[in-house]
Symmetry: C2
Subunit: 539 residues, 2 copies
């Protein structure tokens, strides 16, 4: 507030007109000060009336001012805490006022939620407190203290159904600045092509949230049960992958993504400004992992980003994705590598089904799918040769002359044929034509048009590509030349094989593809936290 | 061979001169054919004499021609196999002929080696076979069959000292094309500043292999015991890191390295040609991991490459390295995050010492160092405030006015002071001045010139940087502006906090730095399989 005396002193040195203006302004200011004082007094009186003042309101920004070390609990544990007074941090999923004396809150921690009740109670919860709570925006983060009470009937709207929390204190930790782009309820609706016919008009007009809207507001989208489950499963796949390989004598390596040359394969590559020259982003750790084999690492794997500068705007392509790559020496035959990869994938599938059924069910609630099927036991994984696969397609009516390669459409068709005939969503195609594979692929020993290479499929889509590699430098150089790759541009790679290298093979798995196809998410972007495609670099 | 009759027919149609030339050529050719026939006959006779022909020689290129499923053993297991006939694949580390009837081989599988003996034996090992074996180049890969025999005295040159192998068959799987850039023996010599004074002239002239030569020929360099141990330890650090975090409720995430904006910090960033526009390589997963927190992931970690376009040619900088990053919500105080990071690092140190002492010893044989020391038990890790650290340096004679920040030299000095006073190679500095930290760092609640941030040190070098982050969008925008960062350039990041975000903190660890400093490798490139710096993009 300005000092009136100062204002008056200043006015004496100015013209009459100005003096009048000043006087007017001064009066206005004094009036405002009076109003403010009255309001402050009213607020003070209201606060004095409000016995609940210490029990609610906004907390100051947490800058680690203090550390009382009060124990906080997880909502998931509340069923076992009936009668206890607990403190916990949660999001306000929804709030619903009943009159001006009671508010029901649905409080959420990740995928767990509990009902909480704020109700006017003498000397504890005031009307003002109830009003404040009723005004909390959805998705606000609050610190709650309350008593856990057994509920007379199951609370269907919460994941914890047998207890509720009688709130004694509730403070705002972090509010919402602006409007939510969509509600979590809308973002969680089942992704069915058609709404059920029995859906009434009200249901039919429920918002669906488009994938692009979700991705533009990914931080809110990721809070749904479905997304929390998807990324728990993504983390689990990596964990199961490593666990298996760790148990089979593999060493984890990290290879550079910045490369001096852009020559690995036909796929386009991103160019990087590298000081005064250029570098290129690795399209796979292929060269590095083979060099690790030439360096006697025997069995290596890497989990890392791979980059593809292909301008493909499809539901199954991204410009950056996670490669689960491995490479191993073989003693006699490349099927040693193929069989290890098969064992690895089955161990991943099994691990998911055994330990993460809750998450799989959560995703299925939004993305309905038949459970992923694979064959185990003595019959093992179905293995077809490329020729057998072609024959199946021809038998089904696809013209043989269109089958030099198997395109995406025919892959899916083959997946359906295999599912119908062998009842499996997972199979291997072996012995691809040499000309369809990269230069480092080992040719078949008998038929020079074939190669020692394989692809693995889930629900009719390729998730793994692998092969025996050429470990002889002369043959490697010959194959590079025949594919138009200049051996000099990859000298350090070729040289690695001149210093002696054991026969070896391996493969690369697309993490997001495995996740998408296991869960039938229908778009690879749903399997990536912050997906990248030719048109998306944010968030 | 040419057909002489054809040649004669052809000559009749040409001039005399040409006829003479042809005749001469013909005679030469016939002579050559005769010689070849004689040689072939001699070879045939020699082969007929050589009863050992099936037992040695080059194998055809392994293209997976067959799969006999013969069991192969590891050299490491040979001590327990005395009397057995075994088959194994190995590299020829060295070969030493004694006369023309006997060759000693040192055969190696990774860090394990055994002595093998090829000695003329009627009907089994021929002179020709011994000669062929003696001619095998070092680092050739062979398939050996032989009988394990207890050695009368310990074989000091091999890791398996109590048995040797009497070779009955030996075939070349992969030879050497060209010369080795250096011998593994040279590459394995201790990296001491000074040769021991008792070293004689012969020892003194042993080659040292320069780091650049090693890196240019990394595939051979990586075969040394030291390097195999270093990368086993690198893999172990990642494993221990994940194991600890998995046990503490963390989810592994993968964030994109391709970014739409280049605004995270002052550090330079690599620009990528992205279709018709530009992208930038992530300098850390900072933004993504904080957004995961805003998306309710609660505790996340990532292991992935980070990119720094700084033209620093020092022993401690690379343009690409592995970041071990984590972020977690805090309930009351950022020390919750700092303490979790401390527990994590101690669990890594302890895991290395307990499980990998053999590898640590192997590295110490080449890079002598005092064992890495840290404090455990009730006293716990030493924690200094930035002010206390400055005071220690001032007390040691560093002018206070030069200590607005602690430069590399003073960091090392501080490391020595701490080691002398507290007998630890590992400590934490807390409460850095705010102006030294990135815009997203939470200010101290009382002193606005300080911040809730910390660095962790090993042997006087920073290996981790972390802090409480600003979770309030208004304060974040203010701090961005004050550091010259345009909030609009990072809109999706700022918006994440508008949708409510819990208080949180975390940190980023440089994997190669931890590895380098734990082992005292003195150059970060030794801790990276294929290091990248401003001048190196190969191999």
């Amino acid at each position: 507030m300005a000092d009136p005396q100062k204002q008056l002193d200043a006015s004496s040195a100015t013209s009459k007109n100005e003096e009048k203006k000043r006087e007017k302004a001064l009066r206005k200011e004094m009036k405002a000060a009076e109003t403010a004082a009255k309001q402050a007094l009213a607020a003070q009186q209201a606060a004095a009336d409000d016995y609940a003042v210490p029990f609610y309101g906004s907390l100051p920004l947490n800058q680690s001012q203090s550390r009382p070390r009060l124990s906080r609990v997880e909502i998931d544990s509340l069923s076992a805490r009936s009668g206890e007074t607990v403190t916990f941090r949660a999001r306000v999923q929804t709030s619903r006022a009943q009159g001006n004396k009671m508010v029901f809150l649905n409080l959420r921690q990740r995928t767990h939620s509990v009902q909480a009740l704020v109700t006017v109670t003498p000397e504890k919860v005031s009307k003002q407190m109830v009003k404040w709570v009723a005004g909390l925006a959805d998705e606000s983060i609050v610190l709650v203290q309350g008593t856990v009470k057994t509920s007379p009937e199951p609370i269907k709207s919460a994941s914890v159904q047998d207890v509720e929390v009688l709130v004694s204190q509730i403070h705002l930790i972090s509010g919402i600045d602006g409007r939510l782009p969509f509600s979590l309820e809308d973002a969680s609706r089942p992704d069915t092509e058609e709404l059920p016919s029995e859906a009434d008009a009200e249901v039919r007009q429920f918002n669906r949230v488009l994938l692009d809207t979700r991705l533009n507001n990914r931080v809110v989208d990721l809070r749904t049960n479905t997304n929390l489950a998807i990324f728990t499963l993504q983390s689990a796949i990596g964990h199961l992958f490593r666990q298996y390989l760790h148990g089979h004598g593999f060493t984890e390596i990290h290879s550079p993504k910045l490369q001096g040359a852009a020559t690995e394969s036909g796929a386009s590559v991103f160019k990087v400004n590298y000081f005064k020259g250029n570098a290129f982003l690795a399209q796979s750790p292929q060269l590095a992992k083979q060099m690790a084999i030439a360096a006697d690492f025997e069995r290596v794997y890497e989990i890392g980003p791979v980059f593809r500068a292909e301008d493909s705007n499809t539901p199954r392509h991204m410009t950056e994705f996670m490669g689960l790559d491995l490479e191993m020496t073989i003693e006699e035959h490349y099927h040693e590598a193929m069989e290890l990869l098969d064992g690895l994938l089955i161990s991943v599938f099994r691990g998911l089904r055994e330990t993460y059924h809750r998450e799989i069910a959560a995703v299925a609630a939004q993305f309905p799918a038949d459970g992923f099927k694979w064959r185990e036991g003595p019959e093992g994984t179905l293995k077809l040769t490329f020729r057998q696969a072609i024959d199946m397609l021809v038998e089904d009516g696809v013209p043989r002359e269109s089958l030099d390669d198997i395109n995406t459409e025919n892959e899916k068709r083959l997946g359906r044929l295999v599912k119908a005939k062998y009842d499996t969503d997972y199979f291997i195609i072996d012995k691809f034509p040499l000309e369809l594979r990269p230069f480092y692929t080992m040719p078949d020993p008998e038929d020079p048009t074939l190669s020692n290479s394989y692809d693995f499929f889930m629900r009719g889509e390729e998730i793994l590509s692998g092969a025996q590699r050429i470990h002889n430098p002369a043959l490697l150089v010959e194959k590079m030349r025949s594919k138009g790759v200049d051996p000099d541009s990859m000298k350090t790679y070729v040289d690695a094989f001149r210093m002696g290298c054991a026969p070896h093979g391996g493969g690369g798995i697309g993490l997001e593809r495995v996740l998408m196809l296991f869960l039938k998410l229908n778009n690879i972007r749903r399997a990536s936290m912050f997906p990248r495609d030719p048109k998306r670099l944010e968030p």
